[in-house]
Symmetry: D2
Subunit: 244 residues, 4 copies
């Protein structure tokens, strides 16, 4: 955790929180869902029959992009991240979301500050960017500018609330770097699609260039999922991280 | 069970099979999902705080149609029913399906036959039909016609397979009353939408007129769900069985 | 237009922009889509047969909530509004979105400022709020606090860009009141669902309490749609503004 | 057309009907939708600026799988095909459907019969099938078995209707080869996904093995779409027919 508190109660963080709240997701869910095609009503019977054949079947489904058997699974995550991350996240429509509401509650003044190792400089042209580290001076500039703007925003927000102005109006000054919290529920197929678009890895079939902050969230989600469905996870990586 | 076997291995049934294969669905899932709006990161903490307030919150969500908190749940059913039921079922797009494949396996010759208490006669005009019992003679006609057509279809199917013709071609003769099997996974919100459209009940806010056979499936699904989320289920009925 | 420019190029607005970019949506689209149920391949033939029967059919579909015939339509809007409006908008998953990107371009410093007639005070308790006008002093407080916070944010943003810091990092200071632009494409059924949740009207069957700013956008969208599908629009209002 | 009428009014067909009822879909729709990312509110202005750059942009979007700009389009097709084709078709959830109803109307006795050039024999094992022509004798067997089963089904259906039994009960005997009609509306992104899964082509990145009958429908749909969006269509083919 890299949070710091300043005098006015304002807090800055550089990390993301991801917790797996609950799940119903295992490799065997993929097996019986797929085998109903060929075995009909008896597909549940032979789930534990043969681990090696299970591996073969999951590899085949992944390679040939038979995606539906991966859908009979459900993972619910709790995520705390800046609003600009949630803005990108919620473009994924095959998922269920409930988020903290700035209409119904007063938001806490917690803001995102890039860590020292966050690449600050963008090079290249549209469609072919890369990010490289900034100088020490650039990092200090970013910290100073962000800190000041967030503090002024927090003061303006608090002042309006103190004067009796509605939360939904006062929140208009809060920056997109303000932390929010949500629950998100996805099935494993939608999760693989999310991971394929929101992480960068060597060996990926269709390269993607996500913003680092959503990738940090995606990496934590991936780690928590990998243990639940190890055969599926291995097949996903082996076949170029393309969602089936 | 009302299955009967005839000489040629053909089987007739009048009932539907619905099993709850797995689920991750409870009233408390609705509570923490809803409370993140007002409590942010601490919404998980007070799940078990106060059952009476839980009831109040779920009633409020149902009445005012805040539907998303009901989505962080997952129910997987195994269903065996005639193809014409699956045709209607799969029009529900917020769900995941895997079904027995007539391309990948030989279908078993199991067909639907209306039970004696199935209303056979439709009265009224488009948009305002009702169904009433047929005479004994009408029931016998239906049984005779259906039995014969299914037996001829089963013979033609088997004969083509015996002659080496591909399953996907031979199946063209199979009637829509042929039984198939599938797994379907839905969240509780999608399930309530399904139930509101595929059951008829007194006191329903928006009346619906489903075909009896899909209603039989829906009733079995409803029964299996009611025990998992009793507060939600009571609120659903109390507020006119409208999906929130 | 209520925009004002200050010295530093910062601009404040209180209004929303909504333009209908293109559409393929008419009452007759509903008619042929619905009549395929009963007329099969000849449903296109009698579109223009009888306006009075068209009205009757659309009323029936709306009342009994047969929603699918309203889906064979498409409306594309261009919308400029504050980010906090887009955050609510994009929770509607049955729609297609493309928005201005703060990763790919430098955002213009245009911010939302509540107009004098915007109710500033929230009264009541969760689930039963109402909004009432603020005093002149409260309005001045809001304007002063928002103006200052947005100007500081704009300066911090510009300063970071001048120092070579990447757009996607610098944008973290921009408030959720910053204007953005997007195209959104929806069918008439999804649009009715959006309108039912994002407008408040007397006579609405299921009352909704949207934030005023998204309601401003919704009202403009509604106006542009009403002329395209007048029979559908009248039926929507007559039946309590419930999406079919 | 390869339809034939027999004595009892029963009709057999081997072809599919696909008509483009209406569309709002052009390459320029992709351009302005994509350019809003980098040009904001002025993206509509330069649509016609430079055809060569339009081609470059669409190629880039296709290659890097930026799919959303292709969604602001709408195509409505009228399709007549056997029920077993519609069963596969409606598994595609990002689409709108309205189909002829066997509950609301009496279906016409029109059935599918494989043409002489339909490959009848399946060779290989699960996951690696190929289809090859049957012998003349096998074709005759198929025609004889299908004809007879369909005629018996049509008689049983008609007899039950004549005896006053409800359409929704009588239809249980109708084979999945019975022709039905529907309207389907899709955007170009969903259409490309459909085509990638329901056609087989050399050079396809992820090979697919659709049943021939749905491929016949897909090929007709493709042909009607290709002319509307020639640049998009060329890019789709060039990049391995993967839906972006």
């Amino acid at each position: 955790m890299s949070t710091t508190n300043d005098a006015g109660g304002v807090e800055f963080r550089s990390d993301m929180t991801v917790e797996l709240v609950k799940s119903s997701a295992s490799d065997s869910d993929v097996i019986w869902a797929a085998r109903v095609s060929t075995k009909g009503e008896s597909s549940l019977a032979d789930i534990d029959a043969d681990p090696e054949r299970a591996r073969g079947l999951i590899n085949y489904l992944m390679r040939d992009r038979h995606g539906t058997p991966f859908e009979h699974t459900s993972l619910t995550y709790f995520v705390s991240a800046p609003i600009f991350v949630f803005r990108e996240f919620m473009r994924h429509r095959i998922a269920s979301y409930n988020e903290e509401s700035a209409r119904y509650r007063e938001l806490r003044p917690v803001f995102y500050l890039p860590a020292v190792d966050r690449n600050l400089i963008q090079q290249g042209k549209p469609g072919a960017y890369e990010f490289v580290p900034g100088t020490q001076a650039q990092h200090e500039t970013a910290v100073a500018d962000i800190t000041r703007a967030c503090e002024v925003a927090a003061q303006a927000y608090q002042h309006m609330l103190d004067e009796g102005i509605a939360r939904e109006v006062a929140r208009t000054v809060l920056p997109v770097g303000t932390y929010s919290s949500m629950y998100v529920t996805m099935n494993a197929r939608a999760l693989m699609n999310f991971l394929s678009l929101r992480t960068t890895r060597p060996g990926t079939h269709f390269p993607s260039y996500p913003q680092r902050e959503i990738e940090m969230v995606a990496e934590l989600m991936e780690e928590l999922w990998a243990d639940l469905m190890p055969i599926t996870y291995a097949a996903f990586n082996e076949h170029g991280r393309v969602s089936p």
